[in-house]
Amino acid sequence: MTVELFVFVVAAAACLAGAIGVVASRNPVHAALSLVGTLFGIAVLFVAEEANFLAAVQVIVYAGAIVVLFLFVIMLLGVDRADDHDIEPLVGQRLAAGFVALGILGLTFAAIASTGYEATGAIVGFDAKVPDINRLGQSLFTDFLFAFEITSILLVIAVVGAVLLARRGRREEEIVDPGQEERAEEIAQKMLVAEYRAHPEEFYEYEAGEDGEETDEDSGEDAESEEVRT
């Protein structure tokens, strides 16, 4: 077993296991962590393919920034509850998706096999003694200079768009906490009990009246929260 084969097998296994983890895990946090496995496996494969700079960028940008962004969103919004995989709202969706995925797989396999697992096209031939980062820099700032400049505009648009979207969302509505009302009620009740234990004599006078008032308030709140949810 050569070193290259060992590296490929381990990294490919990490990639595939991570990919299946992303698709199959019920909890979004687990999916994000599986994604890190896939991205890291691909970074290892980049090193095996002599793209060292891209491997470093892959780890820094993807695993270090994008996945962390995902985790931030999951944890800030508290949407890390498990999805129910048993429900299939659209009947036949999974079967159709399986056919589509198998179709893509078959097409790409056929395309790879039809060229004999080799690239078609003229071999350009680069100087293997020059480090890959030098070659990449030269390519980016000569052949792809225009595209490279355009990416700066893309990034500015993305930043402005993200700021705009996030601001508008905050103005319109606060985050709805489903358990907030129940918790507040529980605390109020505990305070009431403590009060009663401290000064039981003060409660005999208006106990009945307060009870009635409280139930009224309860039903009002329930109706309101029902409206918000529907």
Binding site: L39, A65, L77, F109, L155, A158
Partner: protein, 106 residues
């Protein structure tokens, strides 16, 4: 003979990229949580970058690696805007799925 069969040819990388792309596409089609759908898009993008790097080595052309840099930039921009939209959506309703994007209307 066995040693020749066990050589890692570029074709192996292409097949792995194809598998990753298919898994990502399947996940994108079956999952309903918008965040997980985004992760599946990332999987598909990574499968394509792996293919680009493989072709870059096969053809000894650095252009493939340059394209990967652009894919990274586009993926980063896409995630930033996409997650902002998802944040706006999930603020309206914490249990929103891909079907509820119409909530953002107006």
């Amino acid at each position: 003979m066995i040693a020749a069969a066990l050589d890692v040819t570029p074709g192996w990388y292409l097949v792995l990229g194809s598998l990753l792309f298919s898994i990502g596409a399947y996940g994108l089609l079956i999952r309903r949580n918008p965040l997980v759908m985004f992760m599946c898009v990332e999987l598909m993008l990574n499968a394509v970058t792996l293919t680009f790097v493989t072709f870059s080595r096969m053809l000894e052309d650095t252009g493939g690696q340059s394209i990967v840099v652009f894919v990274l930039v586009v993926a980063a921009a896409e995630v930033v805007v996409g997650l902002a939209i998802i944040v706006a959506l999930l603020r309206k309703r914490p249990d929103a799925t891909a079907d509820d994007v119409a909530l953002l209307e107006g």
